[in-house]
């Protein structure tokens, strides 16, 4: 039931996606276009999936140093369905609320997925940011110690989610920089 409004999306689905994500209708339709271009032809968009490599090579994520972590956090069982892509775009959109962004940022930055951002994670983050071995070992250790001494409030050498949230809430740049435009229109 329901005629097709544009390409293959039903308008009830469009309404639902618009109610459950922070994206506008136009943006959802644009992402739908991009998704259809990438997925194998002939399949219904709700059943098609994209691999992590395909999503990593989207223009919005191509140069991001954390693209593998982003793909890992937002995919299910190693593949992206259309709803996974929408969920990812919603978290990175401009209208998303700070708590949602902070939650996913924590998951992205937790490289070893132990529920904390520890020294090893911090060092990996810094090396990814700089993308080179220009930083000497002791400078890396210095920086890690500075970050921990500033944000680690209960002195266990790791950042729990609450401490990360507290540090990000103090920084107004976080909301500004944690934004990606996925739609090409």
């Amino acid at each position: 039931m329901g005629q097709c409004l544009r390409y293959q999306m039903h308008w009830e689905d469009l309404e639902e996606y618009q109610a459950l994500t922070f994206l506008t209708r136009n943006e959802i339709l644009c992402i739908h276009d991009t998704f259809l271009k990438l997925c194998p032809p002939g399949k219904y968009y709700k059943e098609a999936t994209l691999t992590m490599d395909q999503v990593s090579s989207l223009p919005a994520l191509r140069v991001n140093p954390f693209r593998d972590r982003i793909c890992r956090v937002f995919s299910h069982k190693g593949v992206f369905s259309f709803e996974d892509v929408l969920g990812m775009a919603s978290v990175f959109s401009e209208q998303a609320c700070p708590s949602l962004k902070i939650e996913y940022a924590f998951r992205i930055y937790d490289f070893n997925e132990n529920g904390f951002i520890d020294e090893e994670d911090l060092q990996k983050i810094i090396l990814r940011l700089l993308n080179s071995d220009d930083m000497s070992e002791d400078m890396l250790m210095d920086l890690t110690n500075h970050v921990l001494s500033e944000s680690d409030l209960d002195n266990d050498n790791m950042l729990s989610f609450s401490e990360f949230e507290h540090a990000m809430a103090k920084s107004p740049d976080f909301m500004n920089s944690f934004r990606i435009h996925f739609w090409g229109c």
């Binding site: 005629q3 136009n26 991001n64 609320c97 400078m139 500033e150 209960d154 002195n155 107004p172």
Partner: protein, 805 residues
């Protein structure tokens, strides 16, 4: 609501632990075992733990407690407990998220009298979050938690429910299932297809109408978005150059909005009525040559563009009382329109509205970009927030990496510098050099102001320049060149300064540039309001000032074009072809923003004398946008200096408000209250000051009747009386003082809370160590018991063997 916590520590025990050994929650044994532990620890600590702690203490560089992690022998029970710690499960498991949101909806429903910790959108403390569910003796399964959450969601309003679902960190498929489950029965019935023959026909027709309306709505939406042609351009700029360059273009858009608002008010209340009732023209109309676009004089002079054209009488006066000798041309059913009053009050109201809007947007931007205690934590912020995810180009991302590396190195260097104190001699020398450079820059600004003063005096005195129209352009040209050249000189002088903090360097450069521009503008304003008024007695000096400001605006635009052409395009060609460098010229954000602020100041200064000047500024800003965008995309690269994008919009708005708008307001007030308007043109030609128009009207009202008598009363006691102004200022100061004290108190509370968290962290480490040592001891006892039973079995086997034998 505070109930005593029931701690039931449900520790999953290893299979060998069934009931034989004292369990940690058996109190008397706990005391004993802790005593034993302490004794054991004091014996063994010298060998194992102390070594380890010393090693770790050296590594962390502080004498705090550390987690005791001897190699290899981690007890599985300890690990299991550690893995289910509340702070570890937050942000990871679906169960924790669902229970967290269940608690939130429950609290929302109960509207607890105890204040919620923090905002609704921020998370609560861990111990309170899992208070209701996880510490219950009957721990519930995930499906039960989900059904509880669904029940809570059903009790919320639809909009609230959607808002909550949107903010949940779950996948979209799970959100859809939650939404589906929480839809009420009423909603379900709406979705069902209608039954019956006639009903189905109506239903289908209604459905088709709704569908058509939806597609029409979508088409309109996309058309509206296509009308804002800047969305795609801004997205491209953000993707290629990052947020800092984008903030310049967003500031340009803000200025456009301010000018559009100003223009709307002026056209609606001043220009419109004057165009509808044009006054009688005196003398022949001069012919239009092309020079008017630059000078603003010539055929533009006697139009609605300038002050002189506006009549000083009441427009559309009914023919009964020809008071001012104006022409008697009544329209049928038209209202009389008091032009002088309208002119004064419209300019006043538009300035007031601009002031309120500016202060509000500045406060809003400040509130978003500054936090209490945000100056600490700069390393964490740089590591986590400095990568701009918007950037999509490879070259721009490489530039960002370079920027971040430079910034991190600078931070480390600053910290090291702070650690090593400098000698008194060095500090004195640094202060002396700093003072000298500041003195030189201020001297430059003063020199430019004096030069402008001397030159403008010369232009008044020289008779041959007075005749030619093109000579009017010389002063704006000179001022524009000074504005362009002097900042370069200041930058050269600043190279002599010691570079401690590069961010501070940029702010100091902006400050100096601003002082220069203010000095020049101040000289010009003094020159216009004092000398020109004196020289042009008997002529229309307001027209002249309006035209001067128009010329300054146009010349500023022309020089900006030339600067973009030579500073960016030609420089890039030279550096690529001749010098063979790959680096493109940088886009200097500070200088460009100050140019925009300067142009806007000129507009505000000229609004009183030329009501259509905002229209000229709007056209100029549109052209500037396209020129700068094209030049940026073709010739420039992003600046190497790290700019905090969130602070920048606040700084730009503050600079726009305080020196620029305040100066223009002061100029306006002086012109309205103190200067005698010219007697041959304009709406105030018969009055002593422009403000008199308001007083005249109030006197009219006093004789008008009892119904409007409150207005003269308000005027006499609130506007003319200074006591009211003092009272309002005193109240404002009191409010500011209270706010400062509140912030100071909040800082103290933050310190105390940080201490408390650090204490709790130490407690946690202590307890983990103790737990670990308990399990270690159990395992050791287990191993030793197994060893002794084996030994007991072996001799008894020997005994039986012997007995048998």
């Amino acid at each position: 609501m505070a109930q005593p916590l029931a701690f039931i520590l449900d520790v999953p025990e290893t299979p060998g632990d069934q009931g034989q050994d004292p369990s940690p929650y058996d109190e008397s044994e706990v005391h004993d075992s802790f005593q034993q532990l302490i004794q054991e620890q004091s014996r063994c600590a010298a060998q194992e733990g102390l070594e380890l702690q010393q090693r770790e203490r050296e590594a962390t560089g502080s004498g705090q407690q550390t987690l005791w992690r001897p190699e290899g022998t981690q007890s599985t029970a300890t690990l299991r407990i550690l893995a289910s710690m509340p702070s570890r499960t937050i942000g990871r498991s679906r169960g924790a998220i669902i229970s967290q949101y269940y608690n939130r909806t429950v609290q929302l429903r109960r509207r607890s009298s105890r204040p919620l910790l923090g905002n609704f959108v921020r998370s609560a403390r861990p111990s309170l979050r899992l208070y209701d569910l996880e510490l219950d003796p009957m721990a519930r399964e995930e499906e039960e938690k989900q059904s509880l959450l669904v029940k809570e969601l059903q009790s919320l309003a639809v909009a609230q429910r959607d808002h909550m679902l949107r903010g949940m960190p779950l996948s979209l498929a799970e959100k859809r299932s939650l939404r589906e489950k929480s839809r009420t029965l009423r909603g379900k019935w709406r979705g069902q297809p209608g039954s019956g023959g006639v009903c189905s026909c109506c239903g289908q027709l209604r459905y088709a109408c709704v569908l058509a309306l939806h597609s029409l709505g979508l088409a309109l939406l996309s058309a509206l978005q296509a009308l804002t042609p800047w969305r795609y351009a801004l997205k491209r700029i953000g993707g290629q150059f990052g947020s800092s360059v984008l903030s310049y273009f967003l500031f340009l858009k803000t200025l456009l909005a301010f000018n559009a608002l100003l223009l709307l008010l002026l056209v609606a209340f001043i220009t419109g009525p004057q165009v509808a009732f044009p006054p009688a023209l005196l003398g022949p109309v001069p012919v239009c040559t092309g020079l008017e676009l630059l000078t603003g004089a010539g055929c533009f002079t006697h139009t609605v563009m300038y002050y002189g054209h506006y009549s000083n009488a009441t427009l559309n006066q009914p023919c009964g009382s020809p008071l001012d000798g104006s022409q008697c041309t009544p329209r049928a059913g038209g209202l009389p329109y008091n032009m002088p009053l309208a002119y004064l009050s419209t300019v006043g109201v538009s300035f007031f509205v601009t002031c309120i809007t500016l202060v509000y947007s500045m406060a809003h931007s400040f509130g978003e970009s500054y936090r209490v205690g945000s100056t600490s934590g700069i390393h964490a912020i740089t590591v986590f927030c400095s990568w701009d995810y918007k950037v999509t180009q490879k070259r721009a991302s490489r530039l960002q990496q370079d920027n971040i590396r430079t910034r991190l190195k600078e931070l480390l260097a600053e910290w090291q510098l702070r650690q090593s104190p400098r000698s008194v001699c060095g500090t004195l020398r640094q202060a002396a050099v700093l003072g000298l450079v500041w003195l030189l820059c201020l001297g430059t600004a003063l020199g430019c102001a004096v030069a402008v003063h001397v030159f403008s005096e010369f232009m008044i005195q020289s008779p041959e320049a007075a005749g030619q129209e093109a000579a009017l352009l010389v002063l704006p040209l000179v001022v524009g060149l000074l504005n362009l050249g002097a900042p370069y000189l200041c930058r050269v002088l600043a190279a002599l300064e010691p570079h401690d903090s590069p961010v501070l360097e940029v702010y100091v450069a902006i400050c100096r540039n601003l002082i220069l521009k203010l000095a020049i503008l101040g000289t010009l304003c003094y020159h216009w309001l004092d000398h020109r008024v004196g020289v042009l007695q008997g002529q229309c000096w307001e027209d002249f000032v309006g035209q001067e400001l128009y010329r300054f605006l146009v010349m500023d635009f022309v020089l900006m074009l030339l600067d973009t052409l030579f500073g960016e395009l030609v420089w890039r060609i030279i550096s690529e072809k001749k010098l063979k460098r790959r680096r493109k010229p940088e886009f200097d954000i500070a200088r460009n923003v100050l140019e925009l602020i300067y142009g806007q100041t000129l507009t505000w200064l000229g609004v009183l004398f030329s009501p259509l000047l905002p229209a000229v500024q709007i056209i100029k800003l549109l052209l500037v946008f396209y020129v700068k965008k094209t030049s940026l995309l073709a010739n420039c690269q992003a600046p190497r200096r790290p700019w905090l994008a969130s602070h920048m919009s606040t700084i730009f708005l503050t600079l726009l408000c305080f020196p620029a708008f305040l100066g223009a307001a002061v100029f306006l007030c002086y012109a309205v209250w103190q200067v005698k308007p010219s007697s041959t043109c304009g709406p105030f030609r018969t009055l002593d000051t422009m403000y008199e128009a308001g007083r005249v009207w109030v006197r009219h009202l006093e004789t008008a009747g009892p119904r409007v008598s409150w207005l003269p009363w308000v005027h006499r006691y609130l506007v003319e009386n200074t006591f009211f102004v003092f009272l309002v200022s005193a109240l404002l100061l009191a409010v500011i003082y209270l706010n400062i004290q509140v912030v100071r108190g909040q800082r103290k509370v933050i310190c105390l809370l940080k201490e408390q968290i650090s204490n709790e962290g130490e407690d946690k480490i202590f307890l983990i160590n103790k737990l670990h040592s308990i399990y270690e001891r159990k395992e050791r006892e287990e191993r030793s018991r197994v060893g002794t039973t084996e030994e007991a079995v072996a001799p008894s086997a020997l005994l039986t063997d012997e007995q048998d034998a």
